[in-house]
């Protein structure tokens, strides 16, 4: 349905009616509309009629409108009609007060069928038609009718229902009919034990839930195609049957109506459903008694059927849409639908629930009346009371009378200091142990530029369904438009416009996924050498690493000279022990075993010299772009030689990292950002040691400013605490953002990090080291400094002094040096730093003092 068309406008009008009837817009949505003129007339008329009726009569807009419609906007007549109609309705409220309360679905279904039958009988129609229909479309239902016949409930139902039928003859339907019917709707649904329904039928019903607005009966555009098709077919059948039946009895006018229907059919495909219904209605109004119950009463006020077809006939050629606008045109559900819902008339009546009468669920349970939901304090109250109790400062209680003054003063002090946030005073260590949390692991993906790190991770997330097909398709489309279709998966990780346009990762991208055993955090590092600082920031958060190597010719070799080597050395010197080597792009070398072996050997040789132990290195051949051997085993016949693990399996077999939970809090700020309106200042970073919980006071160094933790998030889920090894987002209050910079340390105010300007450091040189300016890296922290003094070259194993005051330290030598920083920084003994100069990593070090 194109937006802003006439249909759209019609739809809007319909919503008004929906509000009143809670009805489906089955007919209306099918593309019928009033002209603007009509609408205006209707509006004015409605107002006038309402005025005329005054407040004495409860009448809904729609009723008024219906009346107006019937009387061609004649206000006087409509008022008269309405009065006539509503008066008799009034007294009938009482008998309807007792709807059947508890009944199984089958009971209801059975009852409904009976209702149908009864209705048919009253209309002097052969019940055979209906029964036949039922028996062919819903044998279960039919049999259930029989089996439950002696059940008292259906009997009661039946009496009620028949009473309803008797009370409201077709010719004088009233609003109360709606009320009654809405009760029956409620009945139908209130205690339906869905679990007992045969599965195939439950499925159907869930697909098309019987909400007031649902287009179960084929009207809504939201119906699934299958359902729509089936419904259409059923409708056709039914129509045919109805036509056949009507042939015997119907007058000429009805055939005229059929002709009009046929005409409409030809008018538009869209309108077909509705029109066929209209046709059905025209033809089947008398033949199908359940219609009478579901029908809008006002419309039917014209006691003889002929006028309706006439109306149809008159209006269809000129303004076919008008016809359908009137609610009288609705038909009963198709046989298919009645089977689906297990009932005929009640099903359709269910749709007439007005919002004012919307049934409250569970009201039918006997326990409902007894339940006094507000008798006890609400859970919130309980919590607040408990907190109030808990928050009472202990000192005041423990102090005795002789120390009362002191106690009071302490009490006061405590009050003054009490933070706005209530701390839960959790013992985070216990909480952590108790939580039995899944293993957590952060890993960094490293490797030379363009070796496919981001794509591999994109593939991983895609295969694990962390990223859905739709977003990937979207990315693929976007990538294709700028001619970089192969980058689509990488874009899962590379999200900034710069990264996308240049096709390289610039900054660490984090993402999360979960396997059966472990919750992983991916840190996708940039491969370009300019962004090694970012890679270092990522590596400092990682427990282990995936080294991605391009298997294609020359790429591996150039990478080994470049960042493959540097990254591997860096992660090792930052404490990463375990390495998964993903030999990527195996598809480009047609899964050559030789190539894989060659790379494995060379890398093993290199990595062992870089002090990785051989057993902590795993080689996995894979293809990130196509996804082979990432999550699924490779199916390529060329790769039959490989029987080992997939990448995911290899990740899963990683050992959990040790956590320094017991130590005082240390968190390196990795990002300072605005977390939203409610959280104007947030930081994120890995907790290196210790734990943090909500309402903790923290100290940011080197600014030496305190802040309060307002909230904690891990992987976008709010939590109460976080422990070492996790990468939480802390929402802070009571601090200005200028005091927080990347690389700063957040620590426990009781055990702050010391600021140092100069420190002695054991280094492992990667390049020649002489007294010179260097960049000192510690996670996100990047500082200017210089090597002030080369103290000594150290021996291999024991670290004994080999040579004092060397002039220069050669690559691969270990040495002790003194480094002076340009400003004071929070660094502690035992912290690992990386020294870089002029775009290359000079050395990695461990701070001694």
């Amino acid at each position: 349905m194109p937006p802003k068309s006439g249909h759209q406008r019609a739809k809007n009008i319909d919503y008004d009616e929906d509000d009143i009837y809670g009805d489906d817009d089955y007919y209306e949505e099918d593309g019928y509309e009033m002209t603007d003129q009509d609408r205006e007339q209707m509006r004015i008329g409605t107002i006038k009629v309402k005025e005329a009726l005054g407040s004495s009569l409860m009448v809904s807009d729609a009723q008024v409108q219906d009346a107006l419609w019937d009387n061609y906007y004649d206000v006087g007549k409509s008022v008269a009609d309405l009065k006539k109609k509503l008066k008799p309705a009034q007294p009938k409220l009482a008998p309807k007060a007792q709807p059947p309360r508890t009944s199984s679905r089958f009971d209801q279904a059975a009852n409904a069928v009976k209702l149908d039958i009864k209705g048919k009988q009253t209309q002097s129609h052969s019940p055979l038609f209906m029964v036949q229909e039922l028996s062919c479309t819903a044998p279960i239902l039919a049999s259930s009718v029989l089996s439950h016949q002696d059940d008292p409930m259906p009997l009661q139902l039946r009496t009620n229902a028949s009473k309803g039928c008797a009370d409201y003859p077709l010719s004088s339907p009233v609003t109360m009919t709606h009320h009654y019917d809405s009760f029956s709707v409620k009945d139908f649904f209130c205690d339906t034990p869905w679990c007992n329904v045969p599965p195939h039928r439950v499925g159907r019903i869930l697909v098309e839930p019987c909400f007031p607005k649902g287009g179960l009966l084929g009207g809504s555009s939201k119906t699934s195609k299958l359902a729509a098709l089936a419904a259409a077919r059923k409708k056709k059948q039914e129509e045919e049957k109805a036509m056949a039946a009507s042939l015997n009895k119907l007058s000429e006018t009805q055939t005229e109506a059929d002709a009009a229907v046929a005409l409409l059919d030809r008018l538009s495909v869209k309108e077909k459903d509705g029109v066929s219904n209209a046709g059905l209605r025209g033809g089947g109004e008398i033949s199908e008694p359940r219609l009478s119950l579901s029908r809008y009463p006002i419309r039917k006020k014209s006691s003889t059927p002929p006028p309706v077809p006439i109306e149809l006939k008159v209006e269809i050629p000129s303004e076919p849409l008008k016809v359908v606008e009137t609610p009288t045109l609705r038909t009963g559900p198709s046989a298919f639908a009645s089977v689906l819902c297990g009932i005929g008339s009640t099903t359709s009546e269910r749709r007439t629930i007005g919002p004012s009468r919307f049934p409250i669920p569970y009201t039918n349970f006997p326990g409902f009346a007894n339940a006094k939901p507000f008798a006890k304090p609400s859970p919130d109250d309980v919590v607040i009371r408990a907190q109030a109790k808990g928050a009472k400062p202990k000192p005041a209680q423990s102090k005795k009378a002789n120390e009362e003054k002191l106690a009071q003063s302490i009490d006061k002090l405590a009050m003054d200091e009490s933070p706005k946030l209530k701390s839960k005073n959790l013992n985070v260590m216990e909480e952590f142990e108790r939580s039995g949390m899944k293993r957590m692991a952060n890993f960094i993906v490293i490797g030379h530029v363009d070796h496919g790190k981001s794509t591999l991770m994109g593939r991983l997330l895609y295969d694990l369904k962390v990223i859905d097909q739709r977003s990937v398709d979207k990315l693929r489309k976007e990538a294709e438009t700028i001619g970089k279709s192969s980058f689509a998966l990488a874009w899962v990780m590379d999200q900034t416009s710069e990264e996308r346009s240049r096709g390289i990762t610039v900054d660490i991208a984090t993402n999360h996924f979960e396997t059966d055993k472990t919750r992983f955090t991916i840190l996708d590092a940039p491969g370009h050498k300019d962004f090694i600082p970012n890679m270092i920031a990522g590596a400092s958060q990682a427990d282990f690493a995936i080294l991605v190597i391009d298997a294609s010719t020359n790429s591996f070799e150039s990478g080994l000279k470049g960042q493959t080597k540097e990254h591997a050395l860096l992660v090792r010197s930052m404490g990463v022990q375990r390495l998964v080597v993903a030999v990527n792009k195996m598809d480009t070398v047609s899964w050559s075993h030789d190539r894989f072996e060659e790379i494995s050997q060379q890398m093993t040789a290199f990595l062992t010299t870089a002090n990785f132990s051989e057993k902590s290195i795993t080689f996995i051949p894979c293809a990130g772009l196509t996804g082979e051997n990432v999550a699924q085993k490779v199916e390529d016949t060329n790769a039959s030689w490989y029987t080992g693990k997939t990448l995911i399996e290899a990740l899963d077999s990683s050992e959990p990292a040790k956590r320094n939970i017991g130590k005082p809090l240390r968190l390196t700020i990795g990002d300072v950002f605005r977390g939203g309106i409610t959280n104007p200042l947030s930081i994120s970073g890995r907790i290196d040691a210790g734990a943090v919980q909500i309402a903790d006071s923290i100290l940011a160094m080197p600014s030496n400013e305190t802040a309060t933790v307002k909230a904690i998030e891990i992987e976008n889920e709010p939590v109460d605490w976080a422990v070492a090894g996790q990468i939480p987002t802390l929402h802070l209050t009571d601090i200005d953002p200028i005091h927080l910079r990347l690389g700063d340390i957040v620590c426990d105010p009781n055990d702050p990090v010391k600021l140092i300007k100069s420190f002695s450091c054991k280094i492992l040189a990667f390049e020649h080291v002489m007294p010179m300016s260097v960049d000192v890296f510690r996670g996100r922290l990047q500082a200017e400094g210089k090597i002030k003094e080369l103290v000594a070259v150290l021996g291999k194993g024991k670290g004994e002094v080999v040579k004092k005051k060397p002039k220069i330290i050669k690559p691969a030598e270990a040495a002790r040096v003194v480094i002076e920083l340009s400003r004071e920084l929070p660094l502690e003994a035992g912290v690992r730093v990386v020294l870089r100069e002029g775009g290359s990593t000079v050395a990695a070090g461990l701070i001694e003092e």
């Binding site: 300019d530 605005r674 994120s684 200028i738 927080l740 005051k805 002039k807």
Partner: protein, 409 residues
Amino acid sequence: MRLLKSQIDAKHGTGFATLLPEEPEDMWHAFNLIQPTDLLRARAVRRISKTSDAGSVTSQRITLDLTIAVTSTDFDIGSGQLHVAGKVVSENEHVKLGSHHTLDLELNRKFTLEKGDGWDSVALEMLREACDTTQRAELWAVVMDEGLANICLITEHQTILRQRVEVPVPRKRRGGLDGHDKGMEKFYSTTLSTLLRHLDLGNAMPQQTDKTVPLLLASPGFVAQSFLQYIKTEATRTTNKQLLALLPSVLVAHSSSPHLHSLSEVLSSPAIKAKLSDTKYAKETDYMDKFMALLRQDDGRAWYGPREVDRAVEKGAVGQGGGKLLISNALFRAQNVAERKRWVALVERVREGGGEVRVFSSLHESGKRLESLGNVAAILTFPLEDLDEDEDEDEGANDAVRDVEDMNG
């Protein structure tokens, strides 16, 4: 600096020179020239208080020429001010002999300098350099990275950090991408406005329309390019003519870090070298790089540190045919006269031996690099081993890769 008048006896080094500083950088030269024990005569403002016969004290500020024997100098790099403290050596009616005074040397106000122990070769060289008006290259450089920019002015003899711009830029994160972009936008705009304030285009342009100071943008990654792009769009958007005029003289270079010391790396990059090869700082950088390269080779031809270089010079290794002495002018500013003499003697000896002497400005990045090597380094004509006294055996320490961690354990 303009040399107004000089009477220097070439043989003994006695005499004086009258100088007129014209540019801020001249203060730097003056700072290097003026040593303790020198006699400095300049215009001064001094408050004179007189006690009348009746005992009432009147005080007034008068301008007068004072000659002081310098005891200490103080140079403020940022503002380019030089304060020289000393004792008055020439009495006049207002100021007594021996009273202390601090002269504030000012631009466009002449001063006369007489060396306490004569003009030595280094001092004369400095004087010559200071008064050389031909090479006055200037360069503005912005070394930047995401969220951090160092705006500095590189002149012939100085690299002055004018301003450090730090803007917090949120990192990229899921769902919060605009934070990063917004942060970068803010960073660029802050940097540009700061830069413009320092460039002072509005005032500079009318005076020297012919001369545009080149602007060098350097960063890791693409920040510099993006910043240039930003400047371009800003210039067009605001139709800032001065800024538009500046655009052609903008150079973009690669640096590996946003810190000032990566300027040396920028200046040694081929693209920049080609444009700035004749400038002093580019040459200094070049020399430093050569020295470092030789040091890495570790073949005994490159030595640094006062003692080692002293010895090498003694052995005549810094002589004809490639011998180079790299020395920072910080050593000549030594407050200790004997110290200065030592270095002057070293320089003279190298010159006599046919070696080349490069005096590095301690304010340049290359000078800073030299400073970390002990302010003096030498490239020898022939290899010399064991110049460092207490050398130990150093074999066996060069092959195995060891992990830092193991050393700790």
